[in-house]
């Protein structure tokens, strides 16, 4: 390409980007979503998602009524995992209370508790858990580890064989894990929907038909339309980091430059996904639907909410093609562990591959549309 042609191309690209940016700032709803979605999400997720479960309401049926049984209940309470809210007369009553939802857990101490706790073959205490709440069930199951201690004798608990030390998030605060990954979730939510809708809207309103007859090229049009959203994405990233720091005290251990670089790559990948979606649908409504369809697996499978290691093999494979999976890995690495971006080439490369493949597919489809 000769330089005047390149210069013209840049002029046209800038014209498209300027127009897109004007429309973006003008559409109050979109503009509100740029700032509003991240703020709302971080407040909701930051305050409400809490895997660090405490004070589960529990009922106790103590048929043994010995000093050891009373000590057991006191020990369980001391863990702060459960809070004994009522004492009941029979296991049946206990089950009824759990059924009705008044209690989340129940502890039944049988009359022969003293004999049972000396017999390694039998369990000494039965703990009933409301299994409809997966998190609570998991936490109460954790209490099980106390049993060996209990059996030997409450008077002289054995020291733990294994000491668990939580690195990078010593207080085990959920916000510290959630907030950095939230950058990825919010970017997925907004970038994909915004670009898909922005492009489909132009086609729906007939603007594209006019644009095709002008000298503007497809590549100029695509890059020009997407460029303002890169800026939007970086603004959102900054917003989440700032709120995360102020409200939830989330430390940023790693380099900010690395963080923005990783975000840039992820934004590019998300924009391409949005572009690809825009070439597959006819209306703005379909664009939103399809975007939402990609959002849910992103949230559930990326490791944002549920640990990646616990997923079945199939889910792990699906997660590999979700850009958020790799971005969450990068984010947690940079923000919490202070890892340099260069030390995580694999997730970075996977994001790059996603970008390239989506771009190639979108370019193929986009060109066809012009005919």
């Amino acid at each position: 390409m000769s330089s005047p042609a390149l210069l013209q191309s840049i002029h046209r690209l800038r014209a498209v980007a300027t127009k897109e940016f004007r429309q973006l700032t003008r559409d109050r709803l979109t503009f509100g979503m740029v700032v509003g979605i991240p703020l709302l999400q971080i407040l909701i997720f930051g305050y409400s998602i809490n895997f660090d479960v405490r004070d589960i309401s529990a009922g106790v049926v103590d048929h043994a009524k010995t000093s050891a049984s009373r000590a057991l209940v006191a020990d369980l309470q001391a863990t702060q995992v459960i809070r004994v809210t009522e004492y009941l007369g029979s296991p049946t009553e206990l089950e009824e209370r759990i059924d009705s939802g008044a209690l989340s857990a129940g502890i039944y101490i049988p009359p022969d508790f003293e004999r049972r706790r000396l017999d390694p073959a039998r369990s000494a205490v039965q703990v009933l858990v409301d299994g409809s709440e997966p998190t609570i069930e998991g936490v109460v199951r954790g209490l099980n580890s106390m049993r060996s201690t209990l059996r030997v004798g409450l008077g002289a608990p054995m020291p733990s064989f294994i000491e668990v030390r939580t690195l990078y998030n010593p207080e085990k605060r959920t916000a510290v894990q959630i907030v950095p990954a939230l950058i990825g979730v919010i970017l997925t939510m907004t970038m994909v929907v915004f670009t898909a809708v922005a492009i489909v809207r132009e086609r729906e309103r007939g603007n594209l038909e006019l644009l095709i007859t002008t000298p503007v090229r497809s590549a100029e049009l695509m890059i020009g339309k997407l460029a303002p959203y890169v800026v939007v994405g970086l603004i959102q990233t900054t917003l989440i980091l700032l709120v995360g720091k102020w409200l939830f005290d989330v430390p940023i251990v790693g380099s900010l430059l690395d963080l923005y670089l990783a975000s840039g790559v992820f934004i590019a990948a998300s924009l391409m996904l949005g572009l690809l979606i825009s070439t597959l649908v006819q209306t703005q409504f379909q664009a939103i639907q399809l975007s939402l369809f990609t959002l849910l697996p992103s949230i559930l499978l990326s490791g944002f909410m549920f640990p990646f290691d616990g997923m079945p093999r199939a889910a792990q494979l699906i997660a590999q093609v979700i850009p958020l999976t790799h971005f969450v890995e990068l984010l947690r690495g940079i923000v919490l562990r202070g890892a340099p971006l260069a030390s995580m080439p694999v997730p970075l490369a996977k994001l790059g591959i996603f970008f390239a493949v989506a771009l190639a597919l979108a370019a193929m489809r986009f060109r066809k549309r012009l005919d």
Binding site: R14, A15, K19, Q23, R205, E209, L210, T214, P215
Partner: protein, 322 residues
């Protein structure tokens, strides 16, 4: 300006699946004229225009527009082409000025002349007091003036207008046509599609399209003079009875209604068309004033698009014009 035609097309065809939207069209459109496409919806007007501006590839045939082959040189053609779509296709959430600035940038107009040119267009199309208004809040006529201003901002040699006046009031339509004549006087070639007879009559040349084919072509006056039918005008209050009576007459190709008048088209071979009609009406006891008259463009259209077969469609069009 050179003497070669602005557009030549040979055997231009476009199929959508099994539907043939445009069927082997030949066109020669001279420069600095207004050339009209007249035809009902679905006759292939829009598809032809879209092929001529490189928006759609022809399935078969070829077209040379301003010396460029539309199938292979569409990109280079675009600089010299202005296209106005049926729908308002500028950006409703941008202001009048922003829309024009964007179009100017896309066509790579020089910064220095850009402001001047936009101002001239705003003056020409009476939009100077609307510059800061969002395009979406303009009236139908204003939107259309803005669209024409945008389409002519880069001073194209050829302007393609696809049913430009379908959404505006009669006064705006008249103003619009004044602007078109002004452009033609400056040397622009204009191809306009329409389904309004009065607009079609204003074109220098006209092609009547029906089901993807050109069924009549020439200057409107010639078309009206050379019509292959005799036109008889019947004025009566009993239009229904008159139609029923005339439907029995074999020589009558078609009957169309214009208010209280009927136009009957008869084969050229009929010796005294008025007498034939008068006799038929007398037999059915219908009182009517009958006279042989000159053909209107309406009659040309009815005759060219197959007469009675299209009667209902023509009726609908007449009503929309009234």
């Amino acid at each position: 300006m050179n003497g070669e035609p602005a557009i030549t097309a040979r055997g231009l065809t476009r199929q959508f699946g099994r539907l043939t939207a445009v069927d082997r069209i030949d066109l020669t459109i001279p420069r600095a004229q207004i050339y009209g496409f007249l035809g009902p919806n679905g006759s292939g007007k829009s598809t032809t225009i879209r092929m001529l501006c490189g928006l759609l590839r022809p399935t078969a045939g070829a077209a040379v527009v301003l010396g460029f082959d539309v199938a292979h040189e569409a990109e280079r053609l675009r600089e010299k082409l202005g296209y106005m779509t049926q729908r308002f296709s500028l950006w409703e959430d941008l202001t009048v000025l922003e829309n024009l600035q964007f179009i100017a940038d896309i066509y790579g107009l020089e910064r220095s002349s850009r402001t001047q040119r936009i101002r001239a267009k705003l003056t020409e199309f009476r939009l100077l007091d609307r510059t800061a208004q969002r395009a979406g809040t303009l009236s139908g006529g204003q939107k259309q003036r803005l669209a024409l201003a945008a389409a002519t901002l880069h001073e194209p040699e050829l302007l393609l207008l696809d049913e430009p006046t379908s959404a505006v009031d009669p006064q705006s339509r008249r103003d619009f046509w004044e602007s078109l004549f002004h452009l033609v006087n400056q040397g622009t070639t204009i191809l306009v599609s329409t389904h309004y007879m009065d607009e079609a009559e204003r074109c220098h040349r006209l092609a009547i399209l029906d089901e993807g084919r050109i069924v009549a072509e020439g200057p409107p006056k010639t078309l009206m003079a050379d019509i292959d039918a005799a036109v008889v005008e019947i004025e009566t209050i009993a239009t229904e009875a008159a139609r029923a009576a005339l439907a029995q007459v074999a020589e009558i190709v078609s009957i169309a209604q214009l208010g209280t008048r009927l136009h009957a088209l008869l084969a050229r071979s009929v010796a005294d068309p008025a007498l034939t009609v008068r006799d038929a009406l007398a037999r059915a006891h219908v009182t009517a004033a009958v006279e042989h008259t000159t053909a209107s463009l309406e009659d040309v259209f009815v005759a060219a698009t197959g007469g009675g077969r299209d009667e209902r469609r023509v009726d609908a069009r007449l009503r929309s014009r009234a």
